[in-house]
Subunit: 177 residues, 2 copies
Amino acid sequence: MTLDLRAHIRNVPGFPKPGIVFKDITTLLQDGSRFQKVVDQLADRYRPKQVDAVVAVDARGFIVGSAVAYALKAGLIPIRKKGKLPWKTHCASYALEYGTDTLEIHQDAFTPGSRILIVDDLLATGGTAEAVVKLVRQLQGQIVGVAFMVELNFLKGRQKLESYGVDVLSLVEYDQE
Amino acid sequence: MTLDLRAHIRNVPGFPKPGIVFKDITTLLQDGSRFQKVVDQLADRYRPKQVDAVVAVDARGFIVGSAVAYALKAGLIPIRKKGKLPWKTHCASYALEYGTDTLEIHQDAFTPGSRILIVDDLLATGGTAEAVVKLVRQLQGQIVGVAFMVELNFLKGRQKLESYGVDVLSLVEYDQE
């Protein structure tokens, strides 16, 4: 039987600030059988694409991305907030509501032409994922997909990403806050 | 053939500050076959323990903990830095070189008596893991083990953790910096 993911995602009004309803995936993942199904849904979709490595985004992206990498027998490559990776990096900045933030990838994270699946927990405006797409392309990775657990349709991140010609998948979509 | 983990961990002198030699596990995990072996080594060890959930520590602990949870068909529970979890939490503070830091777990992360495996990337002084042990016990979890990829023996974190009566495992030990 299909797992109703939405029924296990908790709405937390007012987090991280008033007016936002946070989609809390911890209630979905804390159960072993549900966690298995979430990961398998993503892995099954991308298995035919022969993924060399999953690029997962600091920090909630690691929670699903790592297990998807394992299920696909792919490598796991972290993209981290500025200053967290120890070796030589490329970086890309993206806009926040106020100011900017910067993400980094190791310069030797993968070899050119590698088949890369990008995984994060949430697609909102797409600003973070856009920076990740740029970093993967800077290293000449071939992006086979960009996958999310949750997508907030009304913030139109999908349109932003698809303008880069990448394939976007989310397991659960929300039409409104 | 056994994988020589140490050969794939990169030493980065001077990170995050002068005098420290950082053990960079990204070079180990970015290859699919190596990532698989690392996760399997941990999962095989704990499979007989019937783990209900893996508690993984923000953020590098997620990278291995999530895949281990999947391999064990267990749930995945994140312990996060203060202010990152959206719902009601318990918190525990631990000492840093200067000042303190605080970790949080959701109050409903698991039911009392659950069999919990704690996973993080690095055992140094054991301060972080000690705080995690306290949080899991506050929720009345039964700790079946505390597992790390890398252990810095000379910082004696193992002694600190074993004083709580928990079983400690690391895949690679370093005797000196």
